[in-house]
């Protein structure tokens, strides 16, 4: 069970991950459960259309239509709650990986053993990826299965595509937390910086279409890679996925380099 740093990290997560999975299953059940009444109330879409454009742009994606399952899930789930959940989870894991271990002073225990710092960090990063995959896979499965129960049918491949982009979004922020923690050893900073970048990235992506000076920045927002191409409707975007994956890899590489060079906090 405790055969490696990866296994130990996964083992430590088992209870909290179970909690996250249960919460997601219930949350999706709730969203699916109210779908029939939303669908039968066309005024919802009209209501949405009367909202200011900036507001619609922030909380709903382009041309989403509340009267279809895809539009409903897009607006109600994928534009805010879903990313928030996955980002919070991944940032917590990324921050815990190195900075958290130092903060609890157990890093001396790990690094008393003949395990290189790179290896330790890579195993922790792998555990973060695995946890995020479990979380988004659960979410996708819940959307498919619980959607069926309430006639909220979205093509499985589109859900899969959206989950892939959602997982990558979470991992970008998790990798920022991991890298800041690995370079500085500071838990607070390793949470605050990705949180700040997430807020800015969210606003830039949401307001970009309306604010002319923000528009050129929009495509640099991780949220643009996540949802700009509307994955629930159009499926996987290779370039967007590649940009996100490359961002994660670069951040993990920076984390390794930074962690190898510095003093470990005792």
């Amino acid at each position: 069970m405790l055969r490696s740093v990866f296994a130990k990290t996964a083992y430590d997560q088992r209870r909290s991950l179970l909690g996250w999975v249960a919460a997601i299953v219930l949350l999706v059940l709730m969203y699916a459960g109210i779908w029939p009444s939303i669908r039968d109330q066309p005024s919802m879409s009209d209501f949405l259309n009367t909202m200011p454009e900036a507001f619609r742009s922030l909380f709903a994606s382009s041309g989403a239509d509340m009267s279809t399952p895809v539009g409903y899930i897009q607006i109600e789930f994928m534009s805010f709650i879903g990313p928030t959940l996955v980002i919070v989870y991944a940032v917590a894991q990324g921050s815990r990986a190195v900075a958290g271990e130092e903060d609890r002073r157990t890093m001396d225990l790990l690094l008393a053993e003949p395990v290189s710092r790179s290896r330790l960090l890579l195993e922790k990063a792998t555990a973060m990826v695995a946890g995020t995959v479990v979380l988004t896979a659960t979410l996708g499965l819940a959307l498919v299965v619980e959607g069926q129960l309430f006639d909220m049918v979205i093509p499985v491949d589109r859900i899969g595509a959206a989950m892939l982009h959602l997982a990558l979004l979470g991992l970008v922020f998790g990798a920022i937390a991991l890298a800041i923690g690995a370079v500085t050893g500071d838990v607070g900073l390793s949470r605050a910086v990705p949180a700040g970048i997430a807020v800015v990235g969210y606003l830039v992506n949401g307001l970009g279409p309306m604010v002319s000076w923000l528009e050129p920045l929009q495509r640099y927002s991780p949220f643009f890679q996540y949802i700009g191409h509307d994955p629930l409707r159009t499926g996987v975007s290779g370039p967007a996925a590649a940009v996100a994956a490359a961002t994660v890899l670069v951040l993990v590489a920076l984390a390794v380099v930074g962690f190898r060079r510095r003093d470990v906090h005792g």
Binding site: L2, D108, A112, S116, D263
Partner: protein
Amino acid sequence: MTGTSIVRTHGLTKHYGATVALRDLDLEVERGEVFGYLGPNGAGKTTTLRLLMGLLRPTSGAAEVDGLDAWHDSVEVRRRVGYLSGEPALYPKLTGAQHVDFLGHLRGTDGRLAAKRFAERLDLDLGRPSRELSKGNRQKLALVLALMSLPDLLVLDEPTGGLDPLAQQEFQAIVRETTGEGRSVLLSSHVLSEVQRVADRVGVLREGRLIAVDRLATLRERSLHHIRATFADAVEPLTFAGVPGVRDLQVHDHSMSCSAPETALDAVIKEVGRHTVLDFECAEAELEETFLAYYEKEAVHAP
């Protein structure tokens, strides 16, 4: 070349920003010896040991363990070393046995049997989560984790802090067996009494400088004692001033006080015995005082 030293540092220096925690340390620990690394709090002991473990990067100079660079070949160094941190932290939810299992896997050697034996000797229950253990028992567990791989070198930062007297005795026996098997031990402490039963040699660190390295036996001979005596009659100062090694002598008609190293005690007491004694006191001085008395000047005058 590995030579005879298991640990060797050259001009090892560590700054934390403006604080100089360690300057120009040249330290050697020989194979098969127990080296007591002494110094008051803040002297730089923990800094030295963490530099050896590759947890800190030297500002300048280098440290070698078994001929390997402590920073660049840290993984290989750690394969040879068992380390007890100065303020050991454990995983609160894991039991002792789970710690043994996990860290054994990281090292790639099964330490379970050895850990079980050490735990029995120290009277430690490996079955309980570490958060339920008392401070002393957590210290024992951390010690067991450092010992269990039977490494070539044990690096122990203040190992007996928090241990009860019985466990301290057992710990000393374990340390002696370790060197009996040809392995080496480097242990730090801020009190001489903690290392004097086990150390072969002692180094003393003060404000980041190594001010003395001596065989323990030599150190003992030099260990300063405070003597105070009250007599029935007035005494002549000159009678005590003539005893070699006596210092800080003060004589006020019926009473005398002075300091003397252990080697001078016999002569002082014989001198005292020539008078009628009303009261007599003799106590060992703090380590720090002994060092200030004998080594500080040497260190200052050293080139």
